[in-house]
């Protein structure tokens, strides 16, 4: 039983990354109707940002956690203003290809500088482990989970309890009607995109101390994250976060009990969800 709980907890830790990334994807999709394929690359840029910051300025993890997401969020707003905005009026596939292209460009630029192998990052805090009552767990990984849960809750509160949140939700669900009420939804598009990008970058910084930092880290992860958002319901913030943590647990327990299925379980689940509820578990069907 302890073993089960320990593994479930471990699943929540890897779910933390899925949730942060899926949350960003969900708000971006909700507001812009853009499936941001560059999200994995931004996660990777977050991790490389931490490495580069330590290499060039000697600034440690906490600075990276603050500065890297801000810098990348800013870059994200530029990206939205200069490129993505121009394509939103067209078929969604155009932005799909654009962001996919951006991801490839980012990967290859970094590969030119760093090569394909992993980069060292030794500035992670909390090296010990902590007693959680029933079992011990690495302190750093508990911290990652805490950060992720806090952020997801904060975003949820922001969306449900503030005026900005109301506008964003309204713009997500009925963009035309919201505009008809005289609300300028356009001015929220850029900040929301930047915010989603910042979350991905933050997840990347969090990954640096516990995962291999290399140019492939984002593209390996993003496929699972897309499955997560599809299962949770595209554009559904709550669904994406919940699916993120659930899939994390499912994979961890799958690894333990049914290793054969550990790689495919996510996609099997995605297939089943698409068959039964094509809009995802928490997504809403929209008139075509």
């Amino acid at each position: 039983m302890t073993s089960f709980l320990q593994q479930a907890f471990n699943g929540l830790v890897s779910g933390s990354f899925y949730a942060l990334l899926a949350l960003g994807l969900a708000v971006i999709f909700g507001m812009l109707r853009v499936v941001n394929f560059a999200h994995g690359a931004l996660y990777m840029l977050g991790a490389f940002g931490a490495v580069a910051l330590a290499d060039t300025t000697g600034l440690g993890f906490w600075w990276a956690l603050l500065l890297v997401p801000l810098a990348l969020a800013l870059t994200g707003t530029l990206l939205e203003r200069l490129l993505i905005r121009r394509l939103t009026a067209l078929d969604p596939l155009y932005n799909f290809l654009l962001t996919f292209g951006i991801a490839l460009v980012c990967q290859d630029l970094l590969r030119m500088k760093y090569g394909a192998h992993s980069q060292p990052y030794e500035r992670g805090p909390f090296t010990g482990s902590m007693d959680l009552g029933l079992f011990d767990f690495p302190r750093y990984q508990v911290f990652v989970l805490a950060v992720s849960v806090t952020l997801c809750l904060a975003v949820w509160l922001l969306l449900t309890h503030t005026r900005i949140g109301t506008i964003v939700r309204a713009a997500t669900e009925r963009p035309e009607l919201t505009r008809a009420f005289g609300i300028d939804t356009g001015r929220w598009v850029t900040p929301v995109f930047g915010f989603g990008v910042g979350l991905a970058a933050l997840a990347g910084v969090l990954a640096a101390p516990m995962r291999a930092v290399n140019t492939g880290m984002g593209s390996d992860l993003i496929i699972t994250v897309f499955a997560v958002v599809v299962i949770g319901g595209l554009g559904s913030v709550f669904g994406s976060v919940l699916a993120g943590f659930t899939i994390g647990m499912l994979q961890a327990l799958g690894n333990l009990y049914v290793p054969v299925l550990s790689q495919t379980s996510v996609y099997l689940l995605m297939a089943v969800v698409l068959l039964v509820r094509p809009a995802g578990l928490f997504g809403k069907e929209e008139p075509a």
């Binding site: 073993s3 320990q6 593994q7 471990n10 830790v13 890897s14 999709f29 109707r33 499936v35 394929f37 969604p92 596939l93 799909f96 290859d108 590969r111 090569g115 394909a116 192998h117 992993s118 980069q119 060292p120 030794e122 090296t127 482990s129 690495p138 990984q141 101390p209 516990m210 995962r211 291999a212 930092v213 290399n214 492939g216 880290m217 593209s219 390996d220 496929i223 897309f226 499955a227 599809v230 319901g233 595209l234 554009g235 994979q251 961890a252 690894n255 333990l256 290793p259 054969v260 550990s262 996609y267 995605m270 698409l274 094509p278 809009a279 995802g280 997504g283 809403k284 929209e286 075509a288």
Partner: protein, 415 residues
């Protein structure tokens, strides 16, 4: 809209998991020196996970062999036209298949080199057999190339899973690491490594307490690291058979879960300098592993590595060193035979014994085309003792050629 897009995303996610498919091409024959030129093709991973282990510097190594050969023979060379071409197989067998055909058939390659990733190497071996042209494998580790799937056109120059497993598995078990928990990536290389490690560990009197396949690639190994100390009996060695970025993930998380403090030592199946750099030499210092060669194993190796560094700015891996060695022997054999026809070159190579900067006490086995040579049981050097930033490896002992590799497989029949 939402509905349609979610299907698009799902399809794209599924599509990214799959890959394209291969095609065919015409076949061509050869004279004494076909088309009056010898073409050496380097089929490798030019930009992916193995681009540093093999990749662009493998192309450089083969080019360096060609340059040295031309300098040595001058006007007396079997032909003045020796060309090196390259292609990227992206570690995918179906792309490797198409590229190999393209190189042999359309670009008149007489021999291919390198080819990291076992599944891709197996695909190239098949194409070499159909094209009846040579293939010198230095990048892939599976023993099947000289076993079940062997053919007269393929040579295995550098290393294999048997060599890695028997060096490390036997040594660590003999040093007291009797109870093993092994985790292996769930694809051709990992499964092969697992089998070889099992044989080596049990052969040395150790036990496999448990073994688990891990997803490939994966960034979370916590499941297995949590499981390790709970196993009964408790293992005292964690055998990590992952490679590259996966290995870095395992070691980082092994550190966080403090398994060393819980009495579980780490043994690593395949370790390259780039991995040591990524993980940190201080973290890995003292870790035992087996290698086919390293750049400062002896003065002769170092002299070559210095020349290589002048050319590329980097220290060579054993795969790149093996590419140079194989290309040189290939060209020398073509010179002697006065032909670049596979059968003529093979006749010169088969059964030859040699020692060069890469392969010591080497024999090109005629039975299965495995090149057996000395291997090294090594450990990661304490960074304080390193002579330069890339000096990571310390020899523990030399494993003589006869012990380093398995006997010819009964499954392989070349003639």
């Amino acid at each position: 809209m939402k509905h349609r897009l979610s299907t698009v995303v799902a399809t794209a996610a599924a599509g990214a998991l799959l890959a394209g498919c291969g095609g065919g091409g015409p076949s061509s024959g050869g004279g004494k020196i076909s088309d009056d030129k010898i073409v050496l093709g380097v089929l490798t991973d030019l930009s992916g996970v193995y681009a540093d282990i093999a990749g662009p510097n493998s192309v450089q190594a083969v080019q360096m062999a060609v340059d040295d050969f031309k300098k040595k023979y001058g006007d007396k060379a079997v032909t003045q036209n020796i060309e090196v071409i390259k292609a990227d197989h992206q570690n995918k067998p179906e792309i490797a298949n198409t590229q190999a055909r393209e190189m042999y058939d359309r670009k008149q390659a007489d021999a291919l080199f390198d080819v990291p990733t076992s599944s891709a190497a197996l695909a190239v071996q098949t194409v070499a057999g159909q094209a009846k042209k040579l293939y010198f494998n230095t990048g892939a580790a599976t023993t099947e190339l000289a076993g079940k799937t062997c053919n007269p056109y393929t040579y295995e120059w550098a290393y294999d899973t048997y060599m890695l497993a028997h060096g490390t598995g036997s040594a660590v078990t003999a040093q007291g690491g009797k109870n093993w928990y092994t985790i292996y990536p769930d694809y051709a290389f990992g499964q092969d490594m697992q089998k070889k490690f099992e044989t080596a560990i049990t052969g040395a009197g150790g036990t496999i307490v448990a073994k688990d396949p891990t997803p490939f690639p994966s960034d979370n190994y916590s499941t297995f690291l949590l499981k390790a100390p709970r196993l009964k009996p408790k293992p005292n060695v964690l055998g990590a058979l992952q490679a590259g970025g996966d290995l870095a993930n395992v070691v980082k998380q092994y550190e966080q879960f403090k398994l060393k403090d819980k009495g579980i030592e780490l043994a690593i199946g395949l370790l390259f300098d780039s991995d040591i750099k990524a993980i940190g030499a201080d973290k890995l210092a003292g870790t035992t592993f087996t290698t086919a060669w390293f750049w400062n194993v002896d003065p002769k190796a170092q002299a070559w590595a210095d020349r290589f560094k002048e050319r590329t700015g980097q220290r060579p891996t054993f795969v790149q060193a093996a590419d140079y060695s194989a290309a040189t022997h290939y060209l020398e054999a073509a010179q002697k035979a006065g032909s670049d026809k596979a059968a003529d070159v093979s006749k010169e190579l088969d059964g030859t014994k040699f020692s060069d900067f890469f392969a010591h006490n080497a024999t090109i086995r005629a039975e299965d085309h495995r090149i057996v040579h000395d291997a090294y049981l090594a450990k990661v050097k304490d960074p304080a003792k390193a002579s330069e930033p890339g000096d990571y490896t310390e020899r523990v002992k030399t494993i003589p050629a006869a012990e380093a590799f398995d006997k010819p497989s009964p499954d392989c029949h070349l003639s």
